[in-house]
């Protein structure tokens, strides 16, 4: 018995739903694009070689430290002993919190050390010294 071969296959891709698919992708990118960001303080970050990437933006909280010694968290200025309360609340609401310290390279270590102490008191122990990639 011979099998009849179907040669009359319809080989066209249906294009009628193409705009819908494209619109879906468009909407996805529109939704995931974050436009609002905290502006922070004007700083120039130090450069380092052995850097790691921060895993997720959702679990990251920034502390800006300018060379004048100002501390800014989410566009609010704090004194060095005010960091504790803010970071503690953040830490409680998000146990995976990683603090990204965006400090100016000319910031004084006295202040950075104060922030270390504050973060330890707030139990926000995962810290990341934000820096640029150094090129030799």
């Amino acid at each position: 018995m011979k099998f009849a071969r179907k040669t009359q296959l319809d080989t066209e891709i249906p294009t009628a739903s193409m705009p819908d698919i494209i619109f879906m992708l468009l909407i996805f990118f529109m939704v995931t694009t974050v436009l609002r960001e905290y502006s922070g303080l004007p700083i120039s970050l130090p450069k380092a070689k052995r850097i790691e990437k921060l895993k997720s933006k959702r679990h990251t909280s920034h502390i800006w430290v300018s060379k004048e010694g100002l501390i800014s968290i989410e566009d609010k200025l704090y004194a060095s002993d005010g960091v504790r309360h803010v970071m503690y609340e953040k830490r409680v609401s998000n146990p995976q919190l990683v603090v990204s310290l965006k400090a100016d390279e000319r910031a004084k270590m006295g202040l950075i050390s104060d922030i270390h102490t504050e973060l330890r008191k707030a139990d926000a122990l995962k810290l990341n010294y934000s820096s640029k990639t150094a090129v030799d």
Partner: protein, 131 residues
């Protein structure tokens, strides 16, 4: 002379819709930046977690206000720091490097030191409070 107005089919052409959608898609694809923050990772010790360590397992690294580095009593250049620390780690793998910076020293010098220590694969880094 009055012109005759005739109604022509008022349909919007939908054939170029896909092209328009594609253009918008490409625009958002290009403008979306998934830039992740980069930096030197560090885990601070918990509050009140001070452990006594044998003195010979501690390597003190001091940074003064002008950015000079004193490693275990000897002045070391920043760029030679990783090499020296690597040697010392090879001699004693239990070594803990205690970094202590002067209050008035620059954050940049501190980051440089931490970077050098990371390059030497030093995992036990302790940050002493500057005073």
């Amino acid at each position: 002379m009055a012109k005759k107005r005739r109604f022509k089919g008022g349909a919007i052409p939908t054939s170029s819709m896909a092209d328009i959608a594609f253009l918008l898609l490409i625009f958002f694809l290009v403008t979306t930046t998934i830039d992740m923050d980069k930096g030197l990772g560090m885990v601070l010790p918990a509050e009140g977690e001070e452990i006594e360590i044998n003195k010979k397992n501690i390597l003190n690294c001091l940074i003064n206000s002008t950015g000079n580095i004193l490693l275990g009593g000897e002045v070391v250049e920043v760029r030679n720091l990783s090499k020296t620390v690597r040697q010392k780690l090879a001699e004693n793998d239990k070594l803990i490097i205690s970094v202590k910076a002067h209050k008035a020293s620059n954050y940049l010098d501190y980051v440089k030191v931490i970077d050098q220590l990371k390059q030497a694969n030093a995992t036990r880094i302790s940050i002493a409070e500057s005073n």
